[in-house]
């Protein structure tokens, strides 16, 4: 019996001149990074409730939401946004509901002094977000009999500030630890190259969130860290092969070694990206609205991460002038040569 396997259509020893494309890739990446940073200053991130504080209420009407809700809510509550989250009829899982967000409510009413009466101050002290949430729910329940509250979230300004700091800290720490690990396992040039590639991925992921103004919340921080893990995974595989080939082909110029190594690992890179993207696409389409932002970030991250390990991380070694004959070459290192 003969097996049919697609992999056979991928050449075992492809010779794509990736390294030659590095100048073009560098220009492309630089433009994308600069554009993302520019967007950060102009558009900024569309922070979700986790990072901005405020009130989010998800309501269900048992059928399609009445068409006047959006107008009425926006008229009554300044700065509110109403999102209709629905899945078209006939899909595996049906849902059709509204997600109403109110911006962070002023918590410092008490400091405004004389104008506010005693009751108002007392309320502001108990919790501005809680009161806004109650007003919103009362408003909806008094107007729509069929309304059902599916989920509520309130985050105070204090907590959202903490979450923002913690999220940033998580990303910085992860990058730092990873740099330390790569440095420990490889030469410093590898560590620097990997971190440049990771920064590239993180900045471009932020960029796409700035460009499309997709809600940026805690789950996206999780996605970014996973992207860091994934992209690094890809980078390490290529680096590992570069290290191996440095020992194997002592005379070959570095440029060629890098190119051969990228090509050696190319089919693996493609296959793993495809399976990961398959799983993520299933999650994006079928996983429900709660995971859509996360899976979107991940899909984008996998694409960018794969690109960066080939076109950013590896050419960085050339730029950083990796010296031959250093410890990566030494045959006494971790893996032995013989088969």
């Amino acid at each position: 019996m003969r097996d049919i396997s697609l992999v056979k259509f991928l050449p075992v020893e492809p010779r794509v001149p990736f390294v030659k494309l590095r100048i073009g890739a560098a220009v492309l990446s630089t433009i994308a990074v600069v554009f993302s940073l520019f967007l950060f200053l102009t558009n900024g991130l569309n922070y979700g409730i986790d990072f901005s504080g405020g009130v989010v209420t998800t309501v269900d009407f048992g059928q399609a939401p009445p068409s006047d809700v959006q107008g009425l809510v926006q008229e009554e509550f300044t700065g509110s946004t109403v999102q209709n989250i629905s899945q078209p009829a006939g899909s595996a899982i049906m849902y059709d509901y509204l997600r109403i967000s109110l911006p962070l409510q002023d918590e410092d009413l008490a400091t405004e002094g004389e104008t506010a009466d005693a009751d108002e101050i007392r309320q502001a002290q108990t919790d501005a977000q809680q009161i806004a949430q109650k007003e919103l729910i009362d408003f909806l329940e008094s107007r729509y009999e069929t309304v059902r509250i599916d989920a509520t979230e309130t985050v105070s300004g204090k907590v959202s500030g903490e979450l923002r700091r913690k999220g940033l800290l998580a990303v910085i720490l992860a990058l730092g630890f990873v740099l330390a690990y790569i440095w420990f396992r490889f030469e410093w040039q590898f560590g620097a190259g990997a971190v440049v590639a990771l920064l590239h991925d993180v900045i471009l992921t932020l960029g796409v969130f700035e460009l499309f103004q997709i809600e940026f919340n805690l789950a996206i921080i999780a996605a970014i860290l996973t992207i860091v893990g994934y992209s690094l995974n890809d980078t390490v595989i290529v680096y590992d092969r570069i290290r191996e080939n440095l020992r194997k082909f002592k005379k070959m110029p570095l440029v060629d070694i890098i190119n051969v190594s990228i090509n050696d690992t190319l089919s693996r890179t493609i296959l793993t990206s495809v399976t990961t993207l398959l799983a993520l696409t299933a999650l994006f389409i079928l996983g429900g609205p709660g995971l859509r932002g996360f899976s979107f970030a991940m899909i984008w991250g996998v694409i960018v991460g794969t690109y960066s390990s080939i076109f950013v991380a590896s050419p960085m070694l050339l730029m950083l002038n990796l010296k031959r004959g250093s410890r990566v070459d030494a045959p006494k290192d971790a893996e032995s040569q013989t088969a």
Partner: protein, 545 residues
């Protein structure tokens, strides 16, 4: 690499079998599961975002408790000085310090002795325990009293512990709900109630401190000027007002119109209550709250009422006067009722809160997340559909890529991996959250990476002319280092996320980390065993890869 000793084979198969045994109950209907032996009853803990429920982060308002501690300190000093016939000019609280000034400079030394005697060890059971206050002389006729850091820490801890206890009694008097109520950080309490339907009741239990006290109304309440001045200078935030006499306090009426000046110190507080119940006024039929004092307070209340017949006393709840009746006769039985503007509902709510005791401090809901059971269920279903489709997609792709034999090995490794993740979550009692489901689906896609690395390597070695067994052997050995490197880096990201992240995101970090460990095991160890078994059985001349 391809030789497995008998015990090693047995160990690997045993581990996988155990994984399947512990994972299986999760896929069964509850009725089927009930027939299984006890150790198989355990299933994965679902997070609140999946089973529905309320998650609230409460901040304890310690400033009001510390303020109260200062007020008590001042009251104590005032009483002691009066008892020793020492006259103080002023004793006031400024910037968290009690500052006193004696009328005559020669009283300073005596006053200092008295005030110092009030400073007791924070924890009397401990030798060398720090004192509650620091007393320092001010000028030649005054003193200042500051609460020590040790005492503040003691108050902080006590306040949070008491708050947790009271909340538990209020929300779950029967002790049957599976709720989490723990201290978080310096001044916060994490409350998690799974499947909570009565969110409004829970919030009412949090928002009302139910601090009850009975105060005699002071004569200044009849002094129109003193009362108007108190009313106009009353600060609802600190509860302070400009008062004519020392040892008095102004409270506004519940309806917001006016208020009364009462004697500040009282020994009849919420702690006196033995129990309370809602009731109906027998004469007028309006809702009331009945109460019964404990023995000690019954006597105190009896004495107080006997000495003050004809005078009004105020019932103060959370800083507001709910009623201020005249004492018609001595109340000696320790029973009575409070009559305010109650509805039947508010009367029964108040008596329930009073029975659970007062919260020592105001609680602020700084973060709240509630999810209905319906939405949680929808999330689970969506997660299941996405996992199955994702798994199928990846499996089909692996078969297409590596053909029947190696494809099957990869798919078996993947399926085992899912079972092991489920088993690990079950055994560890970890909580599966919505992002956690995302972590599992992501693992489905990423776990085959190790297999892909190995198979690609085998393919390359075959291409380089190695015979099958040798190629497989080399493929597995040479892939090990990159597989470990790649997975350790992802592990670093997962661990960082676990320690820095919070709530549901932690659930993601947990499933991701578990998925990394199990995927390395299934791809490197289990799949290798499968490959070796296949090799022994068929001894192929060429590899179908």
């Amino acid at each position: 690499m391809l030789f497995f000793s008998r015990w090693k084979t047995f160990f690997i198969i045993g581990l996988v079998a155990l994984g399947i045994i512990f994972a299986a109950p999760n896929a069964m209907k509850p009725e089927t599961r009930a027939n299984l032996p006890g150790f198989m009853q355990k299933t994965i803990n679902l997070g609140l975002d999946l089973q529905g429920g309320a998650h609230m982060l409460l901040e304890v308002d310690l400033s009001s408790v510390l303020q109260q501690a200062l007020v008590n300190e001042r009251t104590g000093i005032l009483t002691e000085l009066r008892d020793s016939n020492l006259r103080a000019d002023t004793i006031r609280i400024t910037n968290g310090i009690v500052v006193g000034k004696m009328r005559r400079a020669e009283d300073q030394a005596a006053a200092l002795d008295i005030v110092r005697a009030l400073s007791v060890p924070v924890d009397p059971s401990q030798i060398g325990s720090p004192k509650t206050t620091i007393v320092t002389p001010v000028g030649n006729d005054g003193f200042s009293v500051e609460i020590t850091a040790a005492q503040i820490e003691f108050i902080r801890k006590r306040t949070i512990d008491q708050s947790i206890e009271v909340l538990r009694d209020r929300i779950d008097p029967s002790g049957t709900t599976e709720m989490t109520l723990v201290r978080e950080g310096d001044d916060r309490i994490l409350l998690q109630v799974p499947g909570a339907k009565n969110i409004d009741e829970i919030k009412a239990a949090i928002n009302k401190t139910a601090n009850l006290s009975f105060h005699l109304v002071h004569g200044d309440s009849n002094n129109e000027r003193a009362l108007r001045q108190a009313m106009e200078t009353f600060d609802p935030v600190t509860g302070e007002a400009r008062l004519a006499s020392i040892g008095t306090r102004y409270f506004p009426n519940e309806d917001g119109a006016g208020g009364l000046i009462v004697e500040e110190s009282t020994r009849i507080t919420g702690e006196c209550l033995e129990n309370s119940s809602p009731g109906v006024d027998p004469d007028r039929g309006n809702p009331i709250v009945n109460f019964k004092f404990n023995f000690r307070c019954s006597r105190l209340f009896g004495e107080m009422t006997a000495r003050n017949i004809g005078r009004p006393f105020a019932v103060v709840l959370d800083g507001q006067i709910i009623t201020a009746p005249n004492i018609r006769s001595a109340i000696t039985g320790g029973r009575g009722y409070i009559e305010g503007s109650f509805t039947p509902d508010s009367a029964s709510e108040l008596s329930r809160l009073l029975n659970a005791g007062a919260l020592p401090a105001k609680l602020l809901i700084v973060e709240e997340r509630t999810v209905s059971a319906e939405l949680g269920e929808a999330s689970i279903r969506a997660g299941q559909v996405a996992s199955v489709i994702g798994l199928l997609g990846v499996a089909i792709f692996m078969w297409l890529s590596y053909g029947l034999r190696f494809g099957t090995i990869a798919v078996l490794a993947l399926a085992t991996n899912i079972a092991l993740i489920a088993a690990a979550l079950t055994i560890l009692g970890a909580t599966l959250t919505l992002p956690g489901i995302a972590g599992i689906i992501l693992t489905i896609g990423m776990a085959v990476d190790a297999n892909v690395l190995i198979f690609e390597r085998i393919r390359e070695e075959t291409y380089n002319g190695r015979p099958p067994v040798n190629a497989i052997e080399t493929g597995y050995r040479r892939s090990l280092a990159p597989i470990l490197d790649a997975n350790i880096t992802t592990m670093i990201a997962a661990i960082t996320l676990y320690f820095v992240g919070s709530g549901p995101v932690r659930g993601f970090a947990v499933t991701l980390a578990i998925g990394i460990v199990t995927s390395v095991f299934t791809a490197v160890v289990f799949a290798r065993l499968l490959t070796a078994t296949w090799l022994r059985g068929t001894r192929p001349k060429t590899l179908p890869i």
